[in-house]
């Protein structure tokens, strides 16, 4: 087995005094689809920002392609990012450029290709996500699912080794969801792209992931294949996989006792 694409060890990270990660360990192997799951607010998106070097860890190491992402300088960081594609939750298309120009954007920024070659490249990527016909539309004219597919075409146009999906299934209708799931699997199988998928859609992830991690309270509480996770008898895993409202992850945000709050003195809002 080759060296891992992402290796995180003993990661600590806090926002102000609120710890987000306390000793997180995680490995993403080359060529696999790794799912990162967890309840909302467990810092899944923060983890992606740490992996891509947008923010740096308080303690512990985050390695991307074998390099410590917190220690590299900006040119090396940009070189690492060029090997990485990222799909944002809302697509994050550049609103003043057409679909075609959005997909062409990274190519134009990093390579000097003849216009005819560029055109063929961009259209082939758009064809792969089924939106070649939408090349001349503006982002505002796209539905949410289409925008995400365009963003996916843009993410793969530089042929990245690692593709990161941030909540790719949120807010999609079942058809678009199926399309995205199929695309993630096809890109992984056909192009051998290592993928990280952050989501809380257990069923969708189980069908495509090779390895999955369940995060809770700043640590990995369970890891393994989706099947192994489903059979786990850890209470927090069972709650998450079955979707029970209350359990180790409480339904209620921490608060004072309800009865005493109702009967007690009126709280003055400051």
């Amino acid at each position: 087995m080759t060296d891992p694409v992402v290796k995180i060890s003993e990661l600590h990270y806090a926002v102000g005094s609120r710890p987000i990660f306390a000793g997180l360990d995680l490995t993403v192997s080359r060529g696999e689809i790794t799912a990162i799951m967890g309840p909302s607010g467990t810092g899944k998106t923060t983890l992606l920002r740490l992996i891509t070097g947008q923010i740096s860890a308080d303690r512990g190491a985050v390695q991307l392609f074998g390099q410590d992402i917190g220690a590299v300088r900006k040119p090396e960081l940009y070189a690492l990012r060029r090997r990485t594609g990222m799909l944002f939750q809302n697509g994050a298309l550049l609103t003043d450029l057409s679909v075609f120009e959005n997909v062409a954007f990274p190519v134009r920024a990093h390579a000097r290709l003849p216009e005819s070659v560029l055109r063929r490249l961009v259209l082939s990527k758009l064809h792969a996500v089924g939106l070649r016909g939408a090349a001349e539309l503006m982002p505002a004219q796209l539905s949410g699912g289409m925008a995400r597919r365009v963003a996916l075409a843009r993410a793969i146009v530089m042929d990245p080794e690692l593709l990161i999906y941030d909540e790719p299934f949120v807010g999609l209708d079942p058809i678009s969801m199926g399309v995205i799931v199929r695309l993630i699997r096809e890109l992984n199988e056909a192009l051998g792209i290592t993928s990280i998928v952050v989501s809380h859609d257990v069923d969708e992830l189980s069908s495509i992931a090779h390895q999955s991690y369940l995060l809770s309270e700043g640590r990995v509480v369970a890891s393994g294949t989706p099947a192994a996770l489903r059979d786990s008898d850890l209470p927090v895993v069972r709650q998450f996989m079955s979707g029970a409202a209350d359990g180790p992850v409480p339904f209620h945000f921490p608060a004072d006792d309800y009865a005493s709050e109702l009967l007690g003195p009126t709280r003055r809002s400051s």
């Binding site: 990012r81 809302n90 550049l94 990274p106 843009r154």
Partner: protein
């Protein structure tokens, strides 16, 4: 309060240095800059010309009223030209620019921040400072002096309209006195002010937009702050520059 203001000023200056470092590479893509000059400059033309016309007409009226008390209404051309070139042109144009183009810049960049477009660029290994901020900054610095020149021309036309056409100041005296009394130094003062205001307006707009909180409220706040900070800064700079020029 004072410490916070000083801290912010320092942050703005550091941001200016970061932007300036990206200006060289940004100049390699002149198309972007031309597009932004169009967005910020050309689209401000109507408001600039309208305002210039009325400011010039008011100058004509007030100047005529003042000068005729001393029986020297022939000097109206000089008074209008100096007033426009040295003060009203640069200051009013810059204030209008901050309100029209500065707010548009700040909210555009703030929205790009709020919709992850700037982060997406960083993830594509494209520096948003080079690609988004620097071209807009350069375009603003180019656009303001051009707009000032247009404002001045239209303003002089307005003053002439009132003074010569309406109040019957002698046209020959109006133009010839202007020609002989206005020095190159006066023009130079206006040009220097225009560039300084252009830098100030553009810098504040891109700074506020770039650092906007990624929420609807944050973008709104950035827009408001752009107008407030730019306006105060323009008037402050105007005083300092005027004092510096008179002290030479």
């Amino acid at each position: 309060m004072i410490a916070a203001a000083l801290g912010r000023s320092g942050a703005v200056v550091l941001f200016l240095l970061r932007v300036l470092r990206q200006c060289g590479p940004a100049l390699a893509r002149p198309g972007d800059i031309v597009q932004q000059v169009y967005n910020t400059g050309a689209r401000s033309l109507v408001i600039i010309m309208l305002s210039g016309l009325f400011v010039g007409m008011v100058l004509g009226l007030q100047g005529f009223d003042l000068l005729q008390r001393f029986g020297s209404e022939d000097a109206l051309g000089v008074a209008a030209a100096l007033g426009l070139l040295k003060e009203l042109g640069p200051v009013v144009t810059a204030l209008l620019f901050a309100g029209r183009a500065g707010t548009a810049l700040a909210s555009e960049i703030g929205l790009m921040r709020a919709t992850d477009q700037l982060t997406a660029m960083e993830m594509m290994a494209v520096d948003p400072l080079r690609r988004v901020i620097a071209p807009r900054f350069i375009a603003g610095v180019i656009a303001v002096p051009l707009l000032v020149a247009i404002f001045n021309v239209v303003g002089l036309f307005g003053a002439q309209l009132i003074g010569v056409q309406l109040m019957a100041v002698d046209a020959g005296a109006f133009w010839s006195q202007m020609q002989s009394a206005v020095e190159l130094d006066d023009v130079f003062e206006g040009v220097v002010k225009s560039f300084c205001f252009g830098i100030a307006c553009s810098l504040i707009a891109v700074y506020e937009g770039y650092h906007a909180k990624p929420t609807a409220e944050g973008v709104g706040l950035a827009t408001t702050r752009t107008v407030v900070v730019s306006s105060v800064l323009i008037l402050l700079l105007d005083y300092l520059l005027t004092a510096a020029f008179l002290g030479r």
